[in-house]
Amino acid sequence: MKEGGAVSAGMAATFAHVLGRDLRLALRQRGDAALSVLFFVLAASLFPFGVGANAELLARIAPGVVWVTALLAVLLSLDRLFERDHLDGSLELLARAPAPLGVIVAAKMAAHWLTTGLPVVVAAPIIAGMYALPPSGYPVLMMAMLLGTPCLSLIGGVGAALTLGARRGGVLMPLVVLPLYIPVLIFGVTAVDASLAGLPVRPHLMLLGAMLLGAAALAPWAAAAGVRQAVA
Protein backbone atom coordinates (compact mmCIF):
# COMPACT_ATOMS: atom_id res chain seq x y z
CA MET A 1 0.00 0.00 0.00
CA LYS A 2 2.70 2.39 1.07
CA GLU A 3 4.77 1.69 -2.00
CA GLY A 4 1.78 2.15 -4.30
CA GLY A 5 1.08 5.49 -2.66
CA ALA A 6 4.68 6.59 -3.18
CA VAL A 7 4.55 5.57 -6.83
CA SER A 8 1.33 7.47 -7.53
CA ALA A 9 2.69 10.48 -5.62
CA GLY A 10 5.79 10.33 -7.81
CA MET A 11 3.64 10.19 -10.92
CA ALA A 12 1.59 13.15 -9.72
CA ALA A 13 4.81 15.08 -9.12
CA THR A 14 6.04 14.19 -12.63
CA PHE A 15 2.71 15.25 -14.10
CA ALA A 16 2.76 18.56 -12.22
CA HIS A 17 6.38 19.21 -13.15
CA VAL A 18 5.93 18.63 -16.90
CA LEU A 19 2.66 20.58 -16.85
CA GLY A 20 4.42 23.49 -15.13
CA ARG A 21 7.30 23.38 -17.60
CA ASP A 22 5.01 23.45 -20.65
CA LEU A 23 2.86 26.20 -19.18
CA ARG A 24 5.96 28.29 -18.42
CA LEU A 25 7.17 27.77 -21.99
CA ALA A 26 3.78 28.81 -23.33
CA LEU A 27 3.76 31.91 -21.09
CA ARG A 28 7.14 33.00 -22.42
CA GLN A 29 5.86 32.67 -25.99
CA ARG A 30 2.45 34.17 -25.49
CA GLY A 31 1.98 34.71 -29.22
CA ASP A 32 1.30 31.03 -29.90
CA ALA A 33 -1.79 30.69 -27.72
CA ALA A 34 -3.05 34.08 -28.85
CA LEU A 35 -2.68 33.02 -32.48
CA SER A 36 -4.97 30.00 -32.00
CA VAL A 37 -7.72 32.17 -30.55
CA LEU A 38 -7.17 34.74 -33.25
CA PHE A 39 -7.50 32.06 -35.92
CA PHE A 40 -10.68 30.83 -34.23
CA VAL A 41 -12.30 34.26 -34.27
CA LEU A 42 -11.05 35.06 -37.78
CA ALA A 43 -12.17 31.78 -39.36
CA ALA A 44 -15.57 31.98 -37.65
CA SER A 45 -16.11 35.50 -38.95
CA LEU A 46 -15.55 34.34 -42.53
CA PHE A 47 -18.78 32.34 -42.68
CA PRO A 48 -21.17 35.31 -42.80
CA PHE A 49 -19.26 36.54 -45.86
CA GLY A 50 -19.87 33.16 -47.46
CA VAL A 51 -23.49 32.44 -46.54
CA GLY A 52 -24.86 35.98 -46.11
CA ALA A 53 -25.91 37.95 -43.06
CA ASN A 54 -29.37 36.45 -42.61
CA ALA A 55 -29.72 36.42 -38.80
CA GLU A 56 -31.99 33.39 -38.74
CA LEU A 57 -29.61 31.32 -40.85
CA LEU A 58 -26.61 32.44 -38.79
CA ALA A 59 -28.31 31.47 -35.53
CA ARG A 60 -29.05 28.04 -36.97
CA ILE A 61 -25.48 27.35 -38.08
CA ALA A 62 -23.88 28.96 -35.00
CA PRO A 63 -23.17 25.74 -33.03
CA GLY A 64 -21.71 24.05 -36.09
CA VAL A 65 -19.51 27.04 -37.00
CA VAL A 66 -18.22 27.39 -33.44
CA TRP A 67 -17.37 23.69 -33.24
CA VAL A 68 -15.79 23.34 -36.68
CA THR A 69 -13.62 26.42 -36.28
CA ALA A 70 -12.63 25.40 -32.72
CA LEU A 71 -11.64 22.01 -34.11
CA LEU A 72 -9.51 23.62 -36.83
CA ALA A 73 -7.90 26.03 -34.36
CA VAL A 74 -6.89 23.10 -32.13
CA LEU A 75 -5.70 21.15 -35.18
CA LEU A 76 -3.43 23.98 -36.31
CA SER A 77 -1.81 24.19 -32.89
CA LEU A 78 -1.11 20.46 -32.56
CA ASP A 79 2.36 20.59 -34.09
CA ARG A 80 3.35 22.71 -31.09
CA LEU A 81 2.69 19.77 -28.75
CA PHE A 82 5.81 17.70 -29.48
CA GLU A 83 7.53 19.21 -32.51
CA ARG A 84 9.69 21.80 -30.76
CA ASP A 85 10.75 19.38 -28.00
CA HIS A 86 11.53 16.83 -30.68
CA LEU A 87 13.73 19.26 -32.61
CA ASP A 88 15.74 20.51 -29.62
CA GLY A 89 16.15 17.03 -28.15
CA SER A 90 14.27 17.52 -24.90
CA LEU A 91 11.64 15.01 -25.98
CA GLU A 92 14.38 12.38 -26.06
CA LEU A 93 15.33 13.25 -22.48
CA LEU A 94 11.69 13.13 -21.39
CA ALA A 95 11.28 9.71 -23.01
CA ARG A 96 14.32 8.45 -21.09
CA ALA A 97 13.07 9.84 -17.75
CA PRO A 98 12.46 7.20 -15.07
CA ALA A 99 8.73 7.95 -15.12
CA PRO A 100 6.01 6.38 -17.29
CA LEU A 101 6.06 8.18 -20.64
CA GLY A 102 2.24 8.08 -20.68
CA VAL A 103 2.12 10.36 -17.62
CA ILE A 104 4.56 12.84 -19.19
CA VAL A 105 2.59 12.83 -22.46
CA ALA A 106 -0.68 13.30 -20.54
CA ALA A 107 0.82 16.34 -18.79
CA LYS A 108 1.86 17.82 -22.14
CA MET A 109 -1.65 17.24 -23.49
CA ALA A 110 -3.14 18.93 -20.42
CA ALA A 111 -0.84 21.91 -20.95
CA HIS A 112 -1.85 22.02 -24.61
CA TRP A 113 -5.52 22.13 -23.63
CA LEU A 114 -4.93 24.87 -21.06
CA THR A 115 -3.10 27.02 -23.61
CA THR A 116 -5.24 26.28 -26.69
CA GLY A 117 -8.56 24.62 -25.85
CA LEU A 118 -9.44 26.75 -22.86
CA PRO A 119 -8.83 30.12 -24.60
CA VAL A 120 -10.99 28.91 -27.49
CA VAL A 121 -13.76 27.94 -25.05
CA VAL A 122 -13.50 31.38 -23.45
CA ALA A 123 -13.74 33.05 -26.87
CA ALA A 124 -16.67 30.88 -28.00
CA PRO A 125 -19.44 33.05 -26.44
CA ILE A 126 -18.16 36.02 -28.45
CA ILE A 127 -18.58 34.11 -31.70
CA ALA A 128 -21.92 32.71 -30.54
CA GLY A 129 -23.02 36.26 -29.75
CA MET A 130 -21.98 37.52 -33.18
CA TYR A 131 -24.04 34.69 -34.68
CA ALA A 132 -27.09 35.60 -32.54
CA LEU A 133 -27.27 32.23 -30.85
CA PRO A 134 -30.41 32.21 -28.64
CA PRO A 135 -29.45 32.78 -24.96
CA SER A 136 -30.74 29.35 -23.91
CA GLY A 137 -27.98 27.73 -25.95
CA TYR A 138 -25.02 29.32 -24.14
CA PRO A 139 -24.79 27.14 -20.99
CA VAL A 140 -24.96 23.94 -23.03
CA LEU A 141 -22.47 25.25 -25.60
CA MET A 142 -20.00 26.06 -22.83
CA MET A 143 -20.54 22.71 -21.08
CA ALA A 144 -20.15 20.79 -24.33
CA MET A 145 -16.99 22.70 -25.23
CA LEU A 146 -15.50 22.20 -21.78
CA LEU A 147 -16.04 18.46 -22.19
CA GLY A 148 -15.20 18.27 -25.89
CA THR A 149 -12.10 20.43 -26.37
CA PRO A 150 -9.95 18.29 -23.99
CA CYS A 151 -10.87 15.34 -26.25
CA LEU A 152 -9.48 17.34 -29.18
CA SER A 153 -6.15 17.84 -27.38
CA LEU A 154 -6.00 14.17 -26.34
CA ILE A 155 -6.89 12.62 -29.71
CA GLY A 156 -4.90 15.24 -31.57
CA GLY A 157 -1.91 14.49 -29.38
CA VAL A 158 -1.92 10.92 -30.70
CA GLY A 159 -1.80 12.24 -34.26
CA ALA A 160 0.92 14.75 -33.36
CA ALA A 161 3.06 12.01 -31.80
CA LEU A 162 2.58 9.61 -34.69
CA THR A 163 3.47 12.19 -37.36
CA LEU A 164 6.65 13.35 -35.57
CA GLY A 165 9.49 13.45 -38.04
CA ALA A 166 7.29 12.61 -41.01
CA ARG A 167 7.76 14.16 -44.41
CA ARG A 168 4.87 16.55 -45.15
CA GLY A 169 3.93 16.37 -41.46
CA GLY A 170 1.77 19.48 -41.73
CA VAL A 171 -0.50 18.07 -44.42
CA LEU A 172 -0.51 14.62 -42.90
CA MET A 173 -1.84 15.68 -39.52
CA PRO A 174 -5.36 16.72 -40.65
CA LEU A 175 -5.73 13.50 -42.63
CA VAL A 176 -4.82 11.44 -39.57
CA VAL A 177 -6.66 13.45 -36.93
CA LEU A 178 -9.84 14.85 -38.50
CA PRO A 179 -11.67 11.52 -39.03
CA LEU A 180 -11.12 10.77 -35.33
CA TYR A 181 -12.58 14.18 -34.40
CA ILE A 182 -15.95 13.54 -36.03
CA PRO A 183 -17.72 12.01 -32.97
CA VAL A 184 -16.73 14.98 -30.79
CA LEU A 185 -18.01 17.37 -33.45
CA ILE A 186 -21.30 15.49 -33.83
CA PHE A 187 -22.15 15.29 -30.13
CA GLY A 188 -20.90 18.79 -29.46
CA VAL A 189 -23.24 20.21 -32.08
CA THR A 190 -26.22 17.96 -31.29
CA ALA A 191 -26.05 18.93 -27.60
CA VAL A 192 -26.53 22.61 -28.48
CA ASP A 193 -29.15 21.79 -31.12
CA ALA A 194 -31.07 19.68 -28.60
CA SER A 195 -31.08 22.48 -26.04
CA LEU A 196 -32.38 24.92 -28.65
CA ALA A 197 -35.10 22.47 -29.65
CA GLY A 198 -36.11 21.96 -26.00
CA LEU A 199 -34.95 18.32 -26.02
CA PRO A 200 -32.98 16.75 -23.16
CA VAL A 201 -29.26 17.57 -23.43
CA ARG A 202 -28.04 15.16 -20.74
CA PRO A 203 -27.42 12.18 -23.05
CA HIS A 204 -25.24 14.25 -25.41
CA LEU A 205 -23.21 15.73 -22.59
CA MET A 206 -22.83 12.34 -20.95
CA LEU A 207 -21.60 10.84 -24.22
CA LEU A 208 -19.11 13.69 -24.56
CA GLY A 209 -18.02 13.00 -20.99
CA ALA A 210 -17.68 9.30 -21.78
CA MET A 211 -15.50 10.13 -24.79
CA LEU A 212 -13.39 12.42 -22.62
CA LEU A 213 -12.87 9.67 -20.02
CA GLY A 214 -12.09 7.08 -22.69
CA ALA A 215 -9.69 9.40 -24.50
CA ALA A 216 -8.02 10.42 -21.23
CA ALA A 217 -7.44 6.78 -20.37
CA LEU A 218 -6.21 5.59 -23.78
CA ALA A 219 -4.83 8.52 -25.79
CA PRO A 220 -1.76 9.24 -23.59
CA TRP A 221 -0.57 5.65 -24.01
CA ALA A 222 -1.11 5.64 -27.76
CA ALA A 223 0.71 8.97 -28.02
CA ALA A 224 3.49 7.63 -25.79
CA ALA A 225 3.92 4.73 -28.23
CA GLY A 226 4.22 7.29 -31.04
CA VAL A 227 6.77 9.37 -29.11
CA ARG A 228 8.81 6.27 -28.34
CA GLN A 229 8.91 5.41 -32.05
CA ALA A 230 10.00 8.96 -32.88
CA VAL A 231 12.94 9.07 -30.46
CA ALA A 232 14.02 5.44 -30.88
Binding site: A166, R168, L175, P179, L180, I186, F187, M211, A225, G226
Partner: protein, 253 residues
Amino acid sequence: MTDTAAPAQRRWNLHRWANPGRFLRLADAVLPWLSALTAVLLAAGLVGALAVAPPDYQQGMSVKIMYVHVPSAWLALFAYTAVAAASLVALVWRHPLADIAAHAASPVGAAFTFLALATGSLWGKPMWGAWWVWDARLTSMLVLFFLYLGHMALAGAFEDPARGRKAAAVLALVGFVNVPVIKFSVDWWNTLHQTASVMRFDDPAIHASMLWPLLVMGIGFTAFFITLVLVRMKADLLAVRARNLRAMRLRGD
Protein backbone atom coordinates in the same frame (compact mmCIF):
# COMPACT_ATOMS: atom_id res chain seq x y z
CA MET B 1 -3.84 -8.65 -24.25
CA THR B 2 -5.10 -11.79 -22.49
CA ASP B 3 -2.99 -13.90 -24.85
CA THR B 4 0.32 -12.76 -23.41
CA ALA B 5 0.37 -15.92 -21.28
CA ALA B 6 -0.30 -18.17 -24.27
CA PRO B 7 1.32 -21.59 -24.15
CA ALA B 8 4.73 -21.88 -25.75
CA GLN B 9 3.27 -24.11 -28.45
CA ARG B 10 1.06 -21.34 -29.83
CA ARG B 11 3.75 -18.74 -29.72
CA TRP B 12 6.04 -20.99 -31.65
CA ASN B 13 3.34 -21.49 -34.25
CA LEU B 14 2.80 -17.77 -34.60
CA HIS B 15 6.48 -17.14 -35.21
CA ARG B 16 6.97 -20.10 -37.48
CA TRP B 17 5.88 -17.92 -40.39
CA ALA B 18 8.11 -15.03 -39.37
CA ASN B 19 10.75 -16.47 -41.67
CA PRO B 20 10.15 -14.61 -44.96
CA GLY B 21 11.55 -17.49 -47.02
CA ARG B 22 9.11 -19.95 -45.50
CA PHE B 23 6.26 -17.50 -45.96
CA LEU B 24 7.20 -16.95 -49.62
CA ARG B 25 7.23 -20.70 -50.28
CA LEU B 26 3.81 -21.05 -48.66
CA ALA B 27 2.45 -18.09 -50.61
CA ASP B 28 3.81 -19.51 -53.87
CA ALA B 29 2.12 -22.82 -53.16
CA VAL B 30 -1.23 -21.28 -52.20
CA LEU B 31 -1.51 -18.45 -54.71
CA PRO B 32 -2.30 -20.43 -57.92
CA TRP B 33 -5.12 -22.31 -56.19
CA LEU B 34 -6.45 -19.17 -54.54
CA SER B 35 -6.39 -17.23 -57.81
CA ALA B 36 -8.21 -20.04 -59.61
CA LEU B 37 -10.81 -20.21 -56.82
CA THR B 38 -11.28 -16.43 -57.01
CA ALA B 39 -11.78 -16.56 -60.80
CA VAL B 40 -14.29 -19.42 -60.58
CA LEU B 41 -16.27 -17.84 -57.72
CA LEU B 42 -16.39 -14.39 -59.31
CA ALA B 43 -17.39 -15.85 -62.71
CA ALA B 44 -20.14 -17.97 -61.15
CA GLY B 45 -21.29 -15.08 -59.00
CA LEU B 46 -21.38 -12.65 -61.92
CA VAL B 47 -23.32 -15.06 -64.14
CA GLY B 48 -25.72 -15.72 -61.28
CA ALA B 49 -26.08 -12.02 -60.51
CA LEU B 50 -26.38 -10.66 -64.05
CA ALA B 51 -28.09 -13.48 -65.92
CA VAL B 52 -29.85 -15.83 -63.54
CA ALA B 53 -31.12 -13.62 -60.71
CA PRO B 54 -34.40 -11.87 -61.54
CA PRO B 55 -34.72 -8.08 -61.70
CA ASP B 56 -36.29 -6.57 -58.62
CA TYR B 57 -40.02 -5.82 -58.80
CA GLN B 58 -39.41 -2.27 -57.56
CA GLN B 59 -35.83 -1.46 -58.48
CA GLY B 60 -35.74 -3.19 -61.86
CA MET B 61 -32.27 -3.85 -63.23
CA SER B 62 -30.65 -1.40 -60.80
CA VAL B 63 -30.71 -4.12 -58.19
CA LYS B 64 -27.80 -5.76 -60.03
CA ILE B 65 -25.53 -3.08 -58.54
CA MET B 66 -26.16 -4.68 -55.16
CA TYR B 67 -24.14 -7.76 -56.14
CA VAL B 68 -21.00 -5.63 -56.26
CA HIS B 69 -22.02 -3.04 -53.69
CA VAL B 70 -22.82 -5.30 -50.74
CA PRO B 71 -19.71 -7.53 -50.98
CA SER B 72 -17.55 -4.39 -51.35
CA ALA B 73 -19.02 -2.87 -48.22
CA TRP B 74 -18.56 -6.15 -46.40
CA LEU B 75 -14.93 -6.41 -47.48
CA ALA B 76 -14.31 -2.76 -46.58
CA LEU B 77 -15.14 -3.53 -42.94
CA PHE B 78 -13.48 -6.94 -43.01
CA ALA B 79 -10.25 -5.43 -44.36
CA TYR B 80 -10.18 -2.77 -41.65
CA THR B 81 -10.64 -5.46 -39.01
CA ALA B 82 -7.82 -7.43 -40.63
CA VAL B 83 -5.56 -4.34 -40.64
CA ALA B 84 -6.30 -3.69 -36.97
CA ALA B 85 -5.75 -7.34 -36.01
CA ALA B 86 -2.45 -7.46 -37.91
CA SER B 87 -1.41 -4.16 -36.27
CA LEU B 88 -2.16 -5.59 -32.82
CA VAL B 89 -0.05 -8.67 -33.58
CA ALA B 90 2.72 -6.41 -34.90
CA LEU B 91 2.74 -4.19 -31.81
CA VAL B 92 2.25 -6.84 -29.13
CA TRP B 93 4.27 -9.78 -30.49
CA ARG B 94 6.47 -7.77 -32.89
CA HIS B 95 5.73 -10.28 -35.61
CA PRO B 96 7.65 -9.03 -38.66
CA LEU B 97 5.12 -10.26 -41.21
CA ALA B 98 2.13 -8.69 -39.42
CA ASP B 99 3.41 -5.18 -40.21
CA ILE B 100 3.75 -6.13 -43.84
CA ALA B 101 0.30 -7.73 -43.87
CA ALA B 102 -1.33 -4.58 -42.44
CA HIS B 103 0.55 -2.45 -44.95
CA ALA B 104 -0.55 -4.74 -47.79
CA ALA B 105 -4.22 -4.93 -46.75
CA SER B 106 -4.82 -1.21 -46.21
CA PRO B 107 -4.91 0.03 -49.85
CA VAL B 108 -7.01 -2.99 -50.86
CA GLY B 109 -9.51 -2.16 -48.13
CA ALA B 110 -9.51 1.48 -49.23
CA ALA B 111 -10.27 0.37 -52.79
CA PHE B 112 -13.21 -1.75 -51.59
CA THR B 113 -14.50 1.19 -49.53
CA PHE B 114 -14.27 3.43 -52.57
CA LEU B 115 -16.03 0.79 -54.68
CA ALA B 116 -18.83 0.53 -52.10
CA LEU B 117 -19.23 4.33 -52.06
CA ALA B 118 -19.10 4.64 -55.86
CA THR B 119 -21.54 1.81 -56.57
CA GLY B 120 -23.80 3.10 -53.81
CA SER B 121 -23.74 6.50 -55.46
CA LEU B 122 -24.60 4.98 -58.85
CA TRP B 123 -27.49 3.12 -57.26
CA GLY B 124 -28.62 6.14 -55.27
CA LYS B 125 -29.09 8.38 -58.30
CA PRO B 126 -31.96 6.40 -59.91
CA MET B 127 -33.36 5.14 -56.57
CA TRP B 128 -33.17 8.16 -54.27
CA GLY B 129 -32.71 10.81 -56.96
CA ALA B 130 -29.40 11.95 -55.47
CA TRP B 131 -25.78 10.94 -55.91
CA TRP B 132 -25.10 11.53 -52.25
CA VAL B 133 -27.27 11.61 -49.14
CA TRP B 134 -25.94 12.38 -45.65
CA ASP B 135 -27.34 9.14 -44.43
CA ALA B 136 -25.76 7.47 -41.40
CA ARG B 137 -24.43 4.51 -43.35
CA LEU B 138 -22.98 6.54 -46.19
CA THR B 139 -21.34 8.95 -43.79
CA SER B 140 -19.73 6.26 -41.66
CA MET B 141 -18.39 4.58 -44.81
CA LEU B 142 -16.97 7.92 -45.94
CA VAL B 143 -15.23 8.32 -42.57
CA LEU B 144 -13.90 4.78 -42.90
CA PHE B 145 -12.46 5.78 -46.29
CA PHE B 146 -10.72 8.77 -44.66
CA LEU B 147 -9.34 6.48 -41.95
CA TYR B 148 -7.86 4.25 -44.65
CA LEU B 149 -6.34 7.26 -46.43
CA GLY B 150 -4.80 8.49 -43.18
CA HIS B 151 -3.41 5.04 -42.47
CA MET B 152 -1.85 4.77 -45.94
CA ALA B 153 -0.47 8.31 -45.87
CA LEU B 154 1.08 7.81 -42.44
CA ALA B 155 2.65 4.49 -43.45
CA GLY B 156 4.33 6.14 -46.43
CA ALA B 157 5.38 9.40 -44.77
CA PHE B 158 8.71 8.38 -43.26
CA GLU B 159 12.20 7.92 -44.63
CA ASP B 160 12.34 4.62 -42.77
CA PRO B 161 9.47 2.39 -43.98
CA ALA B 162 9.57 0.33 -40.76
CA ARG B 163 8.88 3.45 -38.67
CA GLY B 164 5.98 4.36 -40.95
CA ARG B 165 4.47 0.92 -40.53
CA LYS B 166 4.80 1.10 -36.73
CA ALA B 167 3.14 4.52 -36.58
CA ALA B 168 0.41 3.28 -38.92
CA ALA B 169 -0.14 0.26 -36.66
CA VAL B 170 -0.83 2.51 -33.66
CA LEU B 171 -3.15 4.62 -35.81
CA ALA B 172 -5.02 1.53 -37.04
CA LEU B 173 -5.70 0.48 -33.44
CA VAL B 174 -6.79 3.99 -32.40
CA GLY B 175 -9.04 4.06 -35.45
CA PHE B 176 -10.43 0.64 -34.60
CA VAL B 177 -11.44 1.83 -31.13
CA ASN B 178 -13.03 4.82 -32.83
CA VAL B 179 -14.98 2.95 -35.49
CA PRO B 180 -17.85 1.92 -33.15
CA VAL B 181 -17.90 5.44 -31.66
CA ILE B 182 -18.09 6.95 -35.13
CA LYS B 183 -20.77 4.47 -36.12
CA PHE B 184 -22.96 5.27 -33.12
CA SER B 185 -22.39 9.00 -33.29
CA VAL B 186 -23.29 9.09 -36.96
CA ASP B 187 -26.37 6.95 -36.39
CA TRP B 188 -27.51 9.29 -33.63
CA TRP B 189 -26.75 12.37 -35.62
CA ASN B 190 -28.86 11.08 -38.47
CA THR B 191 -31.83 10.11 -36.31
CA LEU B 192 -31.95 13.61 -34.85
CA HIS B 193 -31.86 15.22 -38.28
CA GLN B 194 -34.08 12.73 -40.04
CA THR B 195 -34.29 13.51 -43.74
CA ALA B 196 -36.87 12.34 -46.21
CA SER B 197 -34.96 9.61 -47.97
CA VAL B 198 -33.73 6.82 -45.79
CA MET B 199 -32.96 3.45 -47.20
CA ARG B 200 -35.74 1.02 -46.40
CA PHE B 201 -36.39 -2.43 -47.66
CA ASP B 202 -40.08 -3.19 -47.29
CA ASP B 203 -39.27 -6.86 -47.14
CA PRO B 204 -36.07 -7.58 -45.24
CA ALA B 205 -35.86 -11.16 -46.45
CA ILE B 206 -34.08 -11.59 -49.78
CA HIS B 207 -35.44 -14.23 -52.09
CA ALA B 208 -33.21 -17.28 -52.55
CA SER B 209 -32.73 -16.54 -56.28
CA MET B 210 -31.04 -13.27 -55.30
CA LEU B 211 -29.34 -14.55 -52.17
CA TRP B 212 -27.10 -17.25 -53.65
CA PRO B 213 -25.37 -15.03 -56.23
CA LEU B 214 -24.82 -12.48 -53.46
CA LEU B 215 -23.24 -15.07 -51.18
CA VAL B 216 -21.08 -16.45 -53.99
CA MET B 217 -19.93 -12.92 -54.81
CA GLY B 218 -19.20 -12.32 -51.12
CA ILE B 219 -17.00 -15.41 -50.85
CA GLY B 220 -15.40 -14.57 -54.22
CA PHE B 221 -14.58 -11.03 -53.06
CA THR B 222 -13.05 -12.45 -49.87
CA ALA B 223 -10.87 -14.85 -51.88
CA PHE B 224 -9.91 -11.94 -54.16
CA PHE B 225 -8.95 -9.87 -51.10
CA ILE B 226 -6.76 -12.62 -49.65
CA THR B 227 -5.11 -13.20 -53.05
CA LEU B 228 -4.32 -9.50 -53.44
CA VAL B 229 -2.94 -9.22 -49.91
CA LEU B 230 -0.70 -12.26 -50.43
CA VAL B 231 0.58 -10.87 -53.75
CA ARG B 232 1.26 -7.49 -52.18
CA MET B 233 3.04 -9.06 -49.19
CA LYS B 234 5.12 -11.13 -51.59
CA ALA B 235 6.01 -8.03 -53.59
CA ASP B 236 7.01 -6.20 -50.40
CA LEU B 237 9.26 -9.04 -49.25
CA LEU B 238 10.84 -9.43 -52.69
CA ALA B 239 11.46 -5.69 -52.89
CA VAL B 240 13.36 -5.87 -49.58
CA ARG B 241 15.34 -8.85 -50.89
CA ALA B 242 16.15 -7.05 -54.15
CA ARG B 243 17.29 -3.99 -52.21
CA ASN B 244 19.55 -6.14 -50.02
CA LEU B 245 21.04 -7.90 -53.05
CA ARG B 246 21.74 -4.59 -54.75
CA ALA B 247 23.37 -3.27 -51.56
CA MET B 248 25.53 -6.38 -51.36
CA ARG B 249 26.65 -5.98 -54.97
CA LEU B 250 27.48 -2.31 -54.39
CA ARG B 251 29.57 -3.29 -51.42
CA GLY B 252 31.29 -5.84 -53.65
CA ASP B 253 30.46 -8.93 -51.56
